[in-house]
Structures are given as C-alpha cells and as structure tokens.
Symmetry: C2
Subunit: 317 residues, 2 copies
C-alpha cells in the first residue's frame, strides 16, 4: 500500500509516493507558472486522479501541505496564490479521491511532521524547523505536539521584529523575512547596489541585472564586497532569530531548512556564534543546530505522514 | 481547608492563604534584605512552620513559586539568589511540612497558573503572561498547557534580540530586559542623562541621584524630556516584543503584569499600536491585550493553585 504526499508551494507543486515506512518511491514537481485560483486546484486534483488511477500504486491515503492556513471546514487560505482566500480544497480533492481519505495541513506543520518522521526531529520532543526560502516560517514542536496557536497561524516567524525603528517596507512580509529570506537577500543586495551607482563597473561577480539568492551566494565565495556584506547581515538576522526561538522555547534542536539552507548551510556555525551572543545562555548550551537532510522535501514527507496518521485514525489504530 | 501559596521573588518573599475556591485570606510580605543561600531557605521553612502550626488555618497543601528553574529532583536554581544553584528546597520544606504535600514551580509557570485560576487567562487555551518587573519573563500557555521547553527554561523572553548590532552590555540579562525592564528604564534614563551633563540643572522633575522606574513614570507625566524619550523607547521595545510573541504563538491574549504594569498600564494602548506595525496581521487582529488584575499576586495565586492541583493528584481526583 502507498501514501500520496502533495506539497503545494508558492511557485511549484510537488507530489510523491511513499511506503508506510516512509520510503520515497516517486516524486514529481510541476511549476505553477503563475497560475491561480481554480487552476491551481485543478493541478492538484489532476495529480490525485493520475496517481489513484495508476495501477503501479495502491494509494490508501492522501496528505496535502499548503503554504498558508488550513481551516477545520476544509477550506484553505494561501496568501501567495490569488483566489485562495477560502478555497474549498478538501471538498475538491475528496470529490476525486472518493473513498480514499484526504487530509490537509500547513507547510509549517507538515515540514515538522516530515522531520519527525524521517528527518532530524526524529525522537525529539521539542524542536524548531526554521524554513528559509522565498519566505520564512517555522514548524514548532512542543512536547511532541505541533504548535498551532488559537487559529492555526502560529510559527509566522518571518514577522519577527529585529531592527528598530519600524519601516514601512516591512509591511506585507515582516521585518525578519524582509531582510533574511531568499527574496530578502536579493532585496538587500539591490539596496546596497542602488546606493553605490559608481560601484557598478567594479562588480566582477555580481550582475545587478540578474540578481538571485544563488548568484549572491556564488559572489560571496568569490569575495565580492556587496555579497559579503549582504550575507554577513543575513547571518546576523538568522542568529538573532534563532536566539529568540531558543530563549522563548528552550528547544533541543533548531533545524535549518528551506531553499536557502541549501547554500547557506555552510553558515550554520557562524549563525550559532551570532545566536550565542544573544540567547539565554543555559538554553543556548542545550540546543543543537542542524541542517535538514530531507533536501527541501520536508513538507512532502510531512504530507505523507499526515496521510498515514489520518489512515491510522480511520482504521482505528 | 486551606492552601498555602509562597512566592519567592528576587527581593521579597510573599506568603498567602487561599481557600480551595481561590479566595485569598491572608497575605504577608517579608523583605529578603540581601540574604542569600540557606538564610533564604530558612525564611521559607519558617513561614511554612508558622502557618502549619497556626490553629486558624487548616493547611492541606503547599505550593512555592521560585524565580528560576525547578528541577525534577526537587532542587532549584535561582540566579538572583546567591548560593541557589542546586538548592535542595523541596527536601528542606518537606522536612518541616511532614505529611502536607509540597510542590514547586517557576515564577513564569506560577504566574500563568494564577492568571488561569483567578485572572485574565481564565477560560483561555492560548495566552501569554508578560511579566515586566526588575527583570522580564513570560508564562506561556499553549492549548491549555504551560510551555516548559526541553529543560524547563522556556519563556526567557527578556533575552529577546530586538536591536542590532549586539552590544556587550546585553550580556547577563538579554537585550529586551536591558532596555525595557524596571531596571532597564532606570538604566536608559541614566544613559540619556550621562550623555547630557549640561542638562542636569534643567531637570525639574527627574533627579539623577535617585532614579527609579517610579520617579521616571512620574516625570513622564510631568512631561520631562528625558523621561518622555525613555518611556517612548520602552513602548517601542514592549510593542516589538509583544509583536514577536503574537507572530510566533498566535495567542488569544497577552496579559501584561509584573511591577512595571503597574504604572505602565496606561501605555498598553500605545504598545498595541506599536505591535500592530510589526506583527503577523491576522494574529494581531485576533489577539487581545489585557492588564493583569491580580495586582502583582499572579505568582502567589499560581503557587496556591499548584498546591491545589498537587493535592487533587494526591487524593486521586
């Protein structure tokens, strides 16, 4: 028997087939290509239909990770997908899944579930998955339970206030995310470059016309001044944010994941050093910093684990 | 039957008798007068003996709130009391309490328990008690359970990093506490005054030789420039910290308590306004800001509630 895990991101849809033991069998990634509203819903239901019809797999349960909030009534809210304010995703998927159970949860919760099932949070009771990608969010495990908050939007750590005074530019994404997300890294580099018009010609490694987090990390390793200053500032923000989570939660582990960790993996020791300056010293001594080893698949693993848990509930296990 | 609640602070010891229903009958406060080590332990056991011997009360259970960490083995760690690294408080109190059950918890946990029993957290599942006094800490309620962390030091929010870059002066208390605790308010005013030696004579309302949080609040209301700038900066820090807790926890309520709220109560609306700039907007809409109505007694209420819960466990209720 198989589990279908689906991870909807802001720019792509990942689907994967897992065994009950958490072995990943087949994974497929489809770009969203700026589609929105029911078109995105159809992408998901088409994937579900395809895998359910396939004779290769015997899918017994489906789990879906969404970049936003999953409501109890089966509707979801995803701020980065137009038309997904109260989108009836559960009903749509149930219609095509017929008697196969379907469950939905946020990417914050799913990433943590994935790490608990087959990643770095296995066997821990108190851990934080800090996801730094296009945006920033966290899956937070407390005494073995995922932190939900009163309306299931806990973990919105990208909104952390880390730099006084407030600036209008933080509106819409939050201060921490503004500076230290994948988009933030590009934004910061652009800000620095805008302030240095004369610097343009000297930039051997950083092309202002095609800035991405990736090119900035490359330029950092070639010792480009702008890239070095931008990454140094990011390390400061990541360290402060990690410190705050350590002082507040006293966790066993902080697991760094998302697209940026990735290339920022090599800075984890420097982030630890920065965090150490700020955090409650006893909690700091007790925490371990680790990199997710699920290679960006934490949420799709978690979606499959969600499916497994839902199946077990259905079967009264 | 009665419950004895004891709240050890950094400078004083409060004891109070409660009914099972949470009615406060008698309260007594003893200053520590810089005593440390076993002298503080003796203050507590003397109180316990006195109340147990009193014919007026029929004490069935004892709860103690301590400003630090309560370990499973009954020892406690209180950073502000010399000689209390691994102090065997539970054993000492049990010796005098004989067959009356004794339980100990941190002031962060006790304050939240007090608010749940008879304060503003009654009936809530997700709330934060932000205690701003000499220091800063938080009691955090998640889905009806108190956040402990992997080693029971969760809630050390005074260590929150809110102001880049790191400064050596934050070591020992944390950035947020450095600026916005009762001591921080005095420190800030002193920093401003040190930078304005010529300003000395003009200070009609603020006497640099006898600065306290209290005199600074008074001077604020008399529109003293230094006091106004200091309090405005504190509002900014309190707002940022509240915003971070809102974005991270998505709580129903933030309850402001401790000695500073108190006089800072009238700034709660301004703190809300500042937090609104920073916090995740949906969580911000859902949260309510309230002032503790237990008048600094949240921890002693909580200690008594701890005693009640322990008694119920003993009696198998």
């Amino acid at each position: 028997m198989s589990l279908l895990g689906i991870d909807l991101g802001g720019t792509k849809l990942a689907s994967a087939i897992f065994t009950e033991a958490g072995e990943l069998h087949a994974k497929e990634v489809i770009p969203l290509n700026d589609q929105s509203g029911i078109a995105v819903g159809k992408l998901i239901t088409d994937q579900v239909k395809k895998y359910l019809l396939s004779e290769k797999f015997n899918i017994k349960s489906i789990g879906i990770s969404i970049p936003g909030i999953s409501h109890d009534d089966g509707t979801v809210w995803a701020p980065n997908i137009d038309g997904w304010e109260n989108y009836p995703l559960l009903d749509e998927v149930k219609l095509v899944a017929t008697d196969v159970p379907v469950s939905i949860d946020s990417d914050r919760a799913c990433s943590m579930l994935g790490e608990m099932w087959h990643g770095k949070a296995k066997g821990t009771r108190d851990a934080i998955f800090l996801a730094v990608g296009t945006g920033i969010g966290a899956g937070i495990l407390i005494n073995g339970q995922i932190l939900r908050g009163s309306n299931d939007i806990a973990g919105a750590v990208g909104w952390m206030a880390l730099q006084r005074p407030f600036a209008e530019k933080y509106t819409g994404c939050g201060c921490f995310e503004y500076y230290a997300s994948g988009e933030g890294i590009v934004r910061l580099a652009r800000e620095v470059l805008d302030g240095k018009p004369h610097y343009k010609g000297e930039l051997r490694y950083l092309d202002p016309s095609s800035l991405t987090a990736h090119t900035i990390f490359q330029a950092y390793h070639l010792k480009d001044d702008v890239a070095v200053s931008v990454i140094k500032q990011c390390i400061e923000f990541w360290g402060m944010a990690a410190a705050n989570l350590i002082s507040i939660f006293n966790p066993e582990k902080i697991i760094f994941g998302g697209g940026v960790f990735g290339p920022a993996e090599k800075f984890i020791a420097a982030i630890h050093q920065e965090a150490k300056k700020w955090a409650q010293p006893i909690s700091m001594k007790q925490v371990r910093f680790e990199k997710s080893t699920l290679h960006g698949d934490a949420a799709v693993y978690g979606a499959a684990f969600l499916a497994l848990e839902n199946l077990n509930r259905h079967e009264g296990k």
